[in-house]
């Protein structure tokens, strides 16, 4: 029998799974896809902008000003802080250590693929040296013909923002004779020793004393830390990755190492399974059914965690009549049930699109609730992108909400079992 069945293998689901498994729970993760980590920067964005559009520097101060229904409001500072510190431990455990800004509690400001400064709280060590809070000159090196990274654009925008930045190119032929390589293929090619040596030498010729070197985030896959170390050693300069257009190599690195780590702890992670139904027993969920190639499968468990993501993750679907629904349990949603109310006229509207703010409402334990605030099921929990009360993409809190709610729920579930037992 499974103690905790997690639906969704994104950061929220995997973080919750890790904490629960560490506490001795029997955990199973089922998911249709992999979550948004594959499409993002591979960083842990906790909160970048407040509702009025101001950039967040000191994190906890900004979190304290959020409304009560925001996931962070429900969690409180202490639970957020301990979840993030536990996550840092986890990244060290999986051999892909993350770090924060030089001044503890502050956001990092890292160069984006267009050369804007993106606020994030924790980043893989391979990105941290790009922090724009320091004034060290930057050399942004691209690969000719690579369609997902534009160093000249990045350097120009960094210069416009007052940094000393320039760009250069290395030929793609350094890595491969082919033109149609993806970011992930490039990352794997770079690990090959002779290519790595050539890359290192090429960089060493370009870099000037005192510069730090930014490269597209393709610096190795399995051996990323070693690739990074080697490049720093040969060039004598700090080397860092700048995210590319997705798929995101840093995101995939994190996800695949996390998944493997969980599997080594005995957690089953089954991807490619879509939840298509569920059964109840009074006010409890009894089982969730999934579609597989051969036959539908029933997964029974004591507790269930819904971590299917929001509209982006596929946890919420909608149709042209303006109906929006939660796909597994048909939970109540705070999304307006008419398309007129979903959008504002401008893509870049500072306030964000109302449809993306809606989701599943929860109590302080993160159990989905009815409008009258009673739990929908007593053994069901919800984490990550499916939660209402925030637009994580607008406020740059995608991973922060996932990690903090996933962590906290693992402990709520444990407590609830202690109480039951």
């Amino acid at each position: 029998m499974t103690d905790l069945l997690i639906i969704g293998a994104g950061l929220a689901g995997l973080t919750a799974g890790w904490h629960a498994a560490k506490a001795g729970q029997r955990v199973k993760v089922i998911a249709k896809g992999m979550g948004v980590t594959h499409w993002h920067a591979g960083t842990i964005d906790v909160l970048g902008y407040t509702a009025d559009g101001a950039g967040v520097s000191r994190l906890l101060e900004a979190i304290a000003t959020l409304p009560a229904e925001h996931s962070y409001g429900l969690l409180g500072e202490e639970r957020i802080a301990s979840a993030l510190s536990a996550f840092t431990t986890l990244t060290a455990e999986i051999g892909l250590p993350y770090a924060g800004a030089h001044n503890p509690g502050e956001n990092l400001w890292l160069p984006s693929p267009v050369g804007a400064a993106r606020p994030t709280f924790l980043a893989p060590l391979g990105q941290v040296a790009g922090d724009l809070s320091t004034s060290q000159p930057l050399l942004v090196v691209g690969i000719e013909g690579m369609r997902d990274f534009y160093p000249k654009l990045i350097a120009e925008n960094l210069s416009k923002q007052g940094h000393t930045a320039r760009h250069a190119f290395l030929p793609l032929s350094l890595f491969t004779p082919r033109q149609d390589v993806t970011t992930l293929q490039l990352a794997k090619l770079v690990e090959e020793p002779s290519r790595l040596a050539q890359l290192a030498e090429g960089l060493a010729r370009l870099v000037k004393p005192g510069e730090r070197v930014g490269l597209p985030a393709v610096l190795g896959f399995e051996d990323h830390p070693a690739v990074l170390a080697r490049l720093q050693e040969v060039t004598g300069a700090p080397v860092f990755e700048i995210p590319t257009l997705p798929p995101s190599v840093p995101g995939i690195r994190l996800h695949s190492r996390l998944r493997r780590h969980l599997e080594q702890m005995g957690v089953r992670v089954e991807v490619g399974m879509e939840a298509i139904g569920f059964g109840t027993n009074g006010d409890r969920i009894a089982w969730v059914e999934t579609e597989t190639s051969s036959r539908p499968l029933k997964h029974r468990a004591t507790n269930f965690l819904l971590a299917t993501g929001g509209i982006l993750g596929g946890g919420i679907n909608s149709d042209h009549t303006g109906r929006a629904w939660e796909v597994v349990f048909d939970l109540p949603l705070t999304i307006p049930q008419a398309r007129d109310g979903w959008f504002r006229p401008h893509f870049l509207d500072g306030g964000g699109q109302p449809v993306f703010r809606g989701g599943v409402s929860v109590n302080q334990h993160f159990q989905p609730i009815h409008p009258d605030r009673t739990p929908v099921y007593t053994n069901l929990w919800a984490a990550g992108g499916i939660l209402s009360g925030a637009d994580p993409i607008r406020e740059r809190s995608v991973e922060g909400i996932a990690v903090a709610t996933g962590t906290s729920i693992a402990y709520s579930v444990l407590r609830s079992q202690d109480n039951d037992g």
């Binding site: 804007a116 190119f169 149609d180 390589v181 870049l348």
Partner: protein, 626 residues
């Protein structure tokens, strides 16, 4: 007249170095014919005028096809739609249909067309339709339902009769650009991003004459005067505004039509309902998508059209009657265009206004000489409208010159009719996969570079019209960033030694014949052109595109990016639900969270596009004669 003479006799007319000059007085140009409007009609008029040897200048306030021409349904009419209701239009359509297949071959896909009788369609219409086709000369053959379903398996199986007619699908972007190139080759000068803000007038009450126009370069914000013997107003739904500048009342009834595109082709044949023309009754396969349309609603303003969820739902419901399940297909975009309908003294509903063309001779009608207005009509009849207009122009200018457009192909026709697999075939045959920047529409880096260099480009939206950038299912999610990066890389810096100033060299501007061809775009260039500036044939071309001229404020990559995202949003907004809503959220993740594009430098700066998506006019007030 000296300048006009020069204009007529040189392949590339003299150019005013607007950006070089500090002007105390507005610089001026002279010509015989000035055409206002760069839609199908105006471009056709300029082509005809130039072929007949008139010194010709065309001004368009944005990019070519910015107006209704770039927002239409994509149907090369056989005339079938009009045989019962408007037989005169039907006769015109079939005649022009035959001509355009010869003159604009590569802009047309020979899809053929069905008129199908669904269970809802009225009893005797099919027989009247068949008889009227015979009378108007529209070739029409009844085929069996079984045969029709074999060719179009997704068609509603409950249809009772099917008639086949020579409908086609036409790419109005390419056709207009190719016509413009033909016009240029015949000596016309085409000025995009040049807006008429007033007309130059002579004479007093009862003896007025239009002698030219005051034109604002919307990129540089400079004003020029263009003197002309004859001014032709071909500004479509805006024709009333232009006529007003001459003190002439022309009441255009802007009839808005909504269209919705599915993410793939549901049919390969144009499907019409066999009934009195009405709303949502045609499905047209255009490039990679199918388009269901359209509606007809009287609106106040031809700009800033709003599409409601109700209109989209109505289109989908009507579409289901032709192809059951259409409403559950993934919808990629919705847009609206306005019919420039005109009827003297008409005050009723726009649906009942005549569809036929209107040529207003303001000398006879209003006592204002030197001024014609051509409006109404259809895309399919643009060539004929141009012919009639220039016939009248000849009378005004006191010369007799025959029209030759019907037998003069535009550049590019040797490629044959368009076919759906064209790009894929070339990409695979030439192994161009590595250069793809838009996987949905198979646009290569070379196509983007080539379009930007060979065609005046101000915004990414111009590139969309040139090469179909961002028109597929992801609606620019991936290619926007890539296109901005590429334009920025190939942008010419101020200090480039080989930078050629506007007008100093013979740029291959309007080289559009092969813009749609991945193979042709890749010839003679290497993908790493940016590594060795000036080394390849392509980058040695002088540049007239403000988007890659780093002296021009519109080359700012941050504005290019912002404006395209905003513009794109306008098009997808009415159709966001289900998978497309998820796609949009992914685009938010990429452009907001990953790129932080909403926090780039210059975020608040104005650009020629700002007015469009911001709503309101956003453009300078139109002043009568300044």
């Amino acid at each position: 007249m000296i300048i006009a003479y020069a204009l007529r006799n040189t392949h590339h007319p003299p150019v005013i170095h607007q950006r070089e000059k500090i002007t105390m007085i507005s610089p001026s140009l002279s010509t015989e014919i000035l055409v206002i409007g760069g839609g199908a009609t105006g471009t056709g008029v300029a082509w005809d005028a130039a072929l007949r040897g008139f010194a010709t200048i065309l001004v368009e306030k944005r990019d070519l096809t910015h107006g209704t021409t770039g927002r239409y349904h994509g149907l090369l009419h056989s005339g079938g739609r009009y045989v019962v209701k408007d037989p005169h239009s039907a006769v015109e359509c079939i005649a022009e249909n035959r001509i355009l297949r010869r003159t604009h071959t590569h802009c047309i896909e020979d899809t053929s067309g069905f008129f199908v009788v669904t269970p809802e369609d009225e009893g005797d219409y099919p027989d009247r339709f068949l008889a009227a086709c015979a009378e108007t000369g529209v070739p029409c053959k009844e085929i069996s339902v079984a045969q029709a379903l074999r060719r179009e398996p997704l068609l509603n199986p409950r249809i009772s009769r099917v008639f086949e007619v020579p409908d086609g699908a036409a790419d109005s972007f390419l056709a207009t650009h190719a016509t413009a190139q033909a016009a240029r080759q015949a000596g016309a000068r085409i000025l995009t991003y040049h807006q008429v803000v007033g007309l130059l007038m002579d004479g007093g009450e009862g003896d007025k004459r239009v002698t030219g126009a005051v034109v604002r370069d919307t990129v540089s914000d400079e004003t020029i005067h263009i003197r002309a013997d004859l001014v032709i107003n071909a500004s479509g739904a805006w024709a009333g505004q232009i006529a007003q500048m001459a003190g002439v009342g022309v009441k255009i009834i802007p009839g808005k039509g909504v269209m919705v595109a599915t993410n793939h082709r549901l049919v390969n044949t144009v499907i019409n309902r066999c009934k009195m023309p009405s709303d949502g009754d045609i499905l047209v396969p255009v490039h990679t998508v199918s388009i269901i349309g359209t509606t007809d609603e009287k609106v106040a303003d031809p700009e800033n059209l709003v599409i409601t969820p109700g209109e989209v739902q109505f289109m989908l419901a009507e579409g289901d009657k032709l192809v059951p399940g259409l409403s559950r297909a993934r919808i990629v975009r919705a847009w609206a265009g306005v019919r420039p309908l005109y009827q003297e003294g008409f005050s009723g509903d726009s649906r009942d206004a005549t569809r036929s063309l209107t040529l207003l001779d303001h000398k006879a009608r209003d006592g204002v000489r030197g001024f014609l207005t051509i409006t109404g009509g259809k895309w399919t009849t643009f060539r004929m409208m141009a012919e009639k207009t220039i016939d009248r122009a000849c009378e005004h200018l006191g010369v007799e010159r025959a029209c030759t457009t019907a037998s003069t192909p535009v550049p590019g026709i040797e490629q044959g009719h368009y076919w759906l697999g064209h790009r894929l075939h070339e990409v695979e045959a030439e192994a161009l996969q590595g250069g793809l920047v838009c996987e949905c529409e198979l646009v290569t880096r070379q196509m983007v570079e080539s379009a930007a260099r060979r065609n005046p480009t101000v915004t990414l939206d111009d590139l969309r019209r040139d090469v179909r950038l961002g028109m597929g299912p992801c609606q620019g999610g991936f290619c926007t960033y890539r296109a901005v990066g590429i334009l920025h890389e190939i942008g010419r810096e101020r200090h480039d030694p080989d930078f050629v100033l506007e007008g100093e060299a013979d740029a291959e501007e309007w080289e559009v014949a092969y813009l749609q061809s991945p193979a042709q775009s890749s010839k003679g260039q290497s993908i790493t052109a940016h590594a060795t500036p000036g080394a390849t044939t392509e980058s040695a071309l002088p540049t007239r595109s403000p988007a890659i001229d780093r002296r021009s404020p519109v080359s700012n990559p941050n504005l290019l990016l912002r404006d395209f995202l905003q513009e794109r949003w306008k098009g997808v907004l009415p159709v966001l639900w289900g998978r497309q809503l998820k796609q949009e959220r992914l685009d938010e993740l990429i452009y907001l969270s990953l790129m932080n594009a909403d926090h780039l430098p210059d975020a608040a700066a104005q650009s020629p596009m700002t007015g469009f998506y911001r709503g309101g006019d956003g453009e300078k007030k139109i002043v009568n004669g300044e």
